[in-house]
C-alpha cells in the first residue's frame, strides 16, 4: 500500500511539469549554479527521499554528481538508470525505482531515447560515479539534442491538432516503458485526470492539505454535497419568508442610492467553510432554528427598510447602473 501511495505521489509529481518543461529544466541542469526551478520540486520530493539528497551531495565537491543527485531524484523513473549501478543511498532510489516499475508498468509516458552512441562521453573524477554519470549525462545530452527536435514536433502536433480536431495526438513512449498503444493511451488519460484534479484542488477550499487522489475526491464529493444541501436549506428559508405585498418604488430607489451596502452576515461563511461533517451539523441546527422561528410568523409584515438591504446586498457597493430597470420590474412583480 505504501508503495502504491509512493508511486501515486510520484505520478502526481511527474505530471506537474509537462514533457516540454522537463526538457527545458534538464537543459538548465547543465548550467551550474542553477537551482531555482528545482527548488520547489525538491521540497516536494525531499518528502519522499527524506534527506537522501543531502547525504549524497555532501560527499562530493563535483558539480556533476550534484547534477546527478538532482536528476535521479526527479528524473530517476524517466532516465531509467539500471538499479544495479546505484550505490550507497542509491538503494533507496532503487527501491523507489522497483516499486515504480512494479506498480506503474506502462503507466508513465516517456520520451523514446534513440541510441546515440556517438554522443559526448564526459570524463569524471570519481570512478564510482563514472557509470551513473555517463548514463545520466548521456541521457541529458540526448534530451538536449532532442529538445529542439521535440519542440518542433510538438509545435507541429499542436498546430495539427488545432487545425484538425480529428487528428490524433502523437505521443512517444518513454525509455524503458512498454510501448503498446494501450498503456500509452492509459498514461495520457491518467495525466488528463491528474491535471483536472489539480484544477479542482484549487477550486475546493481546504484541499491543498490533502495529498492523494482518493482523499481529494472524497473532499470534492463532500463539498458538492454540502453545496447542494445549502441550496436546499436556503430554499426552505425562502419558502417561509414572505416579502411585504406592497413596495414603494420611489421610496426604494431613494433609499437604494443613499444606503450603504449591507455586509453579508457571517453565517454563510460558517456554513461554507465548515463543510466537513461536524460543522455542517452545527450549521444545520442554526438553519433549522431560524426557519422554525420564521415559520411561526409566516405572514408577518416586512418593513420597507428590509428592501434596502435586499437591493444593496446584491449590488454590494457597486453602482446599480444596469440593475435599475431590472430591479424595478422584479420588485414590482415580487410585490404581486
Amino acid at each position: 500500500m505504501n508503495g502504491a501511495i509512493e508511486a501515486d505521489l510520484l505520478l502526481d509529481y511527474n505530471t506537474d511539469m509537462s514533457v516540454l518543461e522537463r526538457q527545458r529544466a534538464h537543459l538548465k541542469y547543465l548550467n551550474p549554479g542553477f537551482d531555482s526551478p528545482l527548488a520547489g520540486f525538491f521540497s516536494d520530493s525531499s518528502m519522499i527521499n527524506g534527506g537522501v539528497i543531502d547525504g549524497f551531495l555532501g560527499t562530493d565537491g563535483l558539480n556533476l554528481p550534484m547534477i546527478y543527485g538532482q536528476t535521479t531524484v526527479e528524473g530517476d523513473p524517466r532516465l531509467s538508470i539500471s538499479p544495479e549501478t546505484m550505490i550507497g543511498t542509491g538503494n533507496f532510489k532503487k527501491r523507489k525505482f522497483d516499486t515504480e516499475t512494479k506498480d506503474c508498468d506502462g503507466k508513465k509516458k516517456k520520451i523514446l531515447m534513440m541510441n546515440r552512441e556517438d554522443e559526448v562521453e564526459e570524463e569524471d573524477e570519481k570512478s564510482k560515479l563514472t557509470e551513473q554519470n555517463n548514463g545520466s549525462t548521456k541521457s541529458i545530452k540526448k534530451m538536449k539534442n532532442k529538445a529542439k527536435k521535440e519542440e518542433n514536433s510538438y509545435s507541429n502536433d499542436s498546430s495539427k491538432v488545432t487545425i484538425q480536431k480529428t487528428d490524433y495526438i502523437h505521443v512517444r513512449a518513454r525509455r524503458g516503458q512498454a510501448t503498446d498503444s494501450h498503456s500509452i493511451a492509459e498514461r495520457v488519460r491518467r495525466e488528463k485526470i491528474s491535471e483536472r484534479m489539480k484544477f479542482l484542488q484549487d477550486l475546493v477550499p481546504g484541499c491543498d492539505k490533502i495529498t492523494g487522489k482518493a482523499g481529494m475526491l472524497d473532499e470534492i464529493i463532500n463539498y458538492v454535497q454540502s453545496l447542494q444541501r445549502q441550496i436546499e436549506f436556503l430554499s426552505m428559508k425562502l419558502a417561509v419568508v414572505n416579502p411585504r405585498p406592497d413596495f414603494d418604488m420611489d421610496d426604494i430607489f431613494a433609499k437604494e442610492v443613499a444606503s450603504t451596502p449591507m455586509t453579508v452576515v457571517p453565517s454563510p461563511e460558517m456554513v461554507n467553510s465548515g463543510y466537513s461533517h461536524e460543522m455542517v451539523n452545527s450549521g444545520y441546527s442554526n438553519e433549522m432554528v431560524s426557519s422554525g422561528y420564521l415559520h411561526f410568523n409566516p405572514m408577518q409584515q416586512v418593513d420597507t427598510t428590509s428592501s434596502d438591504p435586499l437591493s444593496s446586498c446584491f449590488n454590494n457597493g457597486q453602482a446599480p447602473s444596469m440593475w435599475d430597470s431590472h430591479v424595478q420590474n422584479l420588485y414590482g412583480s415580487l410585490g404581486v
Binding site: 509537462s18 514533457v19 516540454l20 518543461e21 509516458k109 510538438y154 502536433d157 499542436s158 491538432v161 505521443v171 488519460r189 495525466e191 488528463k192 485526470i193 491535471e195 483536472r196 484534479m197 484544477f199 479542482l200 477550486l203 475546493v204 487522489k213 482518493a214 475526491l217 470534492i220 464529493i221 463539498y223 458538492v224 454535497q225 453545496l227 447542494q228 441550496i231 436546499e232 436556503l234 430554499s235 428559508k237 425562502l238 417561509v240 419568508v241 414572505n242 449591507m262 453579508v264 452576515v265 454563510p268 409566516p298 405572514m299 408577518q300 418593513d303 428590509s306 428592501s307 438591504p309 435586499l310 437591493s311 446586498c313 446584491f314 440593475w323 422584479l330 412583480s333 415580487l334 404581486v336
Partner: protein, 160 residues
C-alpha cells in the same frame, strides 16, 4: 501530449446573472399564487428548489454545458416549453458503456469515487472520468454562486 491540452474553460457569469435568473423564476412562481396557504410549505419548498436549480442551469450557460443540459432535461420531463435542446448527434451508447466497463480496471480507487460523483452531478452518467471532472468544476462554481445569491436574498428578506 504536452501541446494539445487546451486550458480547461470554466468561466462562470457574474453574480448578477444568477440573481436575475433566480428572481425572475421566483416572480413567476409567485404569479402562480402558491403563497396563500401556509400548509403547502413542502410543496413551496420543492418548487423553490426546482426553480433555483433551473435558474442556475440557465444562468450558467443553458444547454452549452453537459450538466446544465441534463438538469434542464430532467426538470422539464413532460412539458418542454422552457428550453430548446439543440439536436446533437448522440454518440452510440454502447461505446460509452464499454468505455465505462474498461474504466473499472483503471485505478479502482479513482473510479469508485468517480462513480459517487456521477450520482451527484447531473448528467454524470454518460461521461468519462476526465470529462466528469471538468463538469464538476464548472458545477461547483455555479453552485457556490447560486448559494451566494440565495443567501443574499434570504438576508435581505428576513425580518430584522
Amino acid at each position: 501530449m504536452a501541446s494539445a491540452d487546451k486550458t480547461i474553460n470554466t468561466d462562470v457569469p457574474e453574480k448578477d446573472v444568477f440573481a436575475i435568473h433566480f428572481l425572475q423564476s421566483l416572480s413567476n412562481l409567485r404569479t402562480q399564487n402558491l403563497f396563500n396557504s401556509p400548509d403547502t410549505t413542502n410543496y413551496r419548498v420543492r418548487k423553490i428548489k426546482k426553480a433555483a436549480y433551473v435558474s442556475m442551469a440557465r444562468a450558467a450557460g443553458g444547454t452549452s454545458r453537459l450538466w446544465s443540459r441534463a438538469l434542464l432535461r430532467r426538470a422539464t420531463k413532460g412539458n418542454n416549453k422552457i428550453v430548446r435542446f439543440p439536436r446533437k448527434k448522440r454518440k452510440v451508447t454502447w461505446k460509452i458503456s464499454s468505455k465505462r466497463r474498461r474504466s473499472d480496471q483503471r485505478a479502482p480507487v479513482v473510479e469508485e469515487a468517480a462513480e459517487r460523483l456521477r450520482n451527484l452531478v447531473p448528467g454524470g452518467g454518460g461521461m468519462e472520468t476526465s470529462k466528469l471532472m471538468e463538469e464538476t468544476a464548472h458545477y461547483i462554481k455555479c453552485l457556490s454562486m447560486q448559494v451566494k445569491v440565495m443567501q443574499c436574498l434570504v438576508d435581505g428578506l428576513s425580518p430584522k
